[in-house]
Amino acid sequence: MSDLWLGLQQAVWLVITLNGDLVEITLRSLQVTLTALVVASALALPLAALLAVRRFRWRRSVIAVLNALMGLPPVVVGLIVYVTLSRSGPLGVLGLLFTPTAMVIAQVIIIVPLIASIAHQSLRELWSDYHDLLISMNTTQRQRIATLLWDGRRALLTAALAGFGRAIGEVGAIMVVGGNIDHATRVLTTAIALETGKGEFAMALALGFVLIALALLVNLAIHWLGQTERGGRW
């Protein structure tokens, strides 16, 4: 209990004093996670809409695989990205291993199925509502996808937030591909793992509290910006 109390005190102190290391690690966490979120959303949301509006032979199988990939073990993803980006790997020439970019790539792979799957559930319902109308209006497939993404944007925000939640708390994959290098690839989760390993529980807890606060703040900010739960019935 004393560790918890001490951790909370230390977290408050670190935030109040704007501790340099904490600010750096926090900003890097945000940078990596938000970049991954933007890239993953740009891939996953149109994919979800396409799966909702387009009928093709392997559609059900693709949806099943997507749902299964939601439970992708992050460490395995990290390992695959590591092998791909390592010097002897197919993309080793890019020199991305142990950089924030490699961490972004790993996070994107982890959260694309999650965002796409949740988004697909919402868009499938919206498409069943809109199907006859949009067919009747002679819309193109591109117009249908754009319409679903726009009209379903509030539900899609929830999918994106789920992706953010998974990415910001991710440790296994980014530890493998980022290497937890001080002033280079250290983020909140890998720093917590390091401090715990060193037995610095108070510091680890402090970083944990900052991580929780950060996740809550970003969620609230996105809800506020997206005007979720305000005004409409949807």
Binding site: L126, I135, M137
Partner: protein, 236 residues
């Protein structure tokens, strides 16, 4: 290039060996309002959906007088249960114009003019899903008419509306018909059929049983089934 006449020959709808309607042979031409009547389950909705291209033919052919892509742009459909998009009333109305490539401001200005016409201007900024049944149907009708379709299909648009809302819808329909839009509408309301029809399609058992000018249909129906239906007897 004109959209009509529409020629339907031996058209059937169905799935998995079961025939919903057909074979249907008819030619839709000219101006005015065609009312589709018949008992529940006779195939009125399926016939309208087939003509509009919402259902794929199992057999037969359906040909407009212009290329299919052009034909699709020149027609619209109003569903029995209006489909409201998750947008404001104004944006619902501007949507077909935006699809057609009109810029946002011009589309909204045109939509506002239409909202005035259908007495929905005060609701312009409201969520479309919060409208009453009558308001929704008026909005759906305005959204279908905003691109001046040559043919408008309506599937029982007044089915769940009270007298006042029905009168408002009929006034809009008569305005559209006067402006040159060909209306093809199903209804259960024989009073409405008599008020609006220039010609009548009587559907029974998935087939067009009778297709004739309204005066002749109501005064001297050709088939005993149509006579029985007009008398209010149960026809199956």
């Amino acid at each position: 290039m004109a959209l009509l006449p529409l020629k339907i020959e031996g058209a059937c709808l169905g799935r998995r060996g079961r025939r919903w309607i057909g074979p249907v042979d008819l030619e839709l031409a000219g101006q005015g309002t065609t009312i589709v009547i018949g008992p529940n389950g006779s195939g009125k909705t399926s016939l309208l959906r087939m003509m509009h291209g919402l259902e794929r033919l199992r057999e037969g052919s359906l040909r407009w007088s212009c290329p299919l892509e052009e034909a699709r742009r020149k027609q619209a459909f109003v569903f029995q249960t209006p489909i409201m998009m998750r947008r404001s009333v104004l944006d619902n109305l501007a949507y077909p114009l935006r699809l057609g490539g009109m810029d946002r401001k011009a589309a909204q200005a045109e939509a506002e003019a239409w909202l005035d016409r259908v007495d929905l201007a005060p609701a312009a900024r409201r969520d479309a899903l919060r409208l009453s049944g009558g308001e929704r149907q008026k909005l759906a009708l305005a959204r279908a008419l905003i691109r001046s379709p040559e043919v408008l299909f309506l599937d029982e648009p007044c089915a769940a509306l009270d007298g006042r809302a029905t009168r408002e819808i009929e006034a809009i329909l008569q305005g559209a018909s006067t402006s040159g839009t060909r209306l093809v509408m199903s209804t259960h309301d024989m009073g409405q059929a008599r008020r609006l029809a220039d010609e009548v399609i009587f559907v029974l058992g998935g087939r067009v049983h009778e297709y004739s000018p309204a005066d002749r249909f109501f005064d001297q129906p050709e088939t005993p089934q149509a006579s029985a239906f007009l008398r209010g007897d149960i026809v199956e």
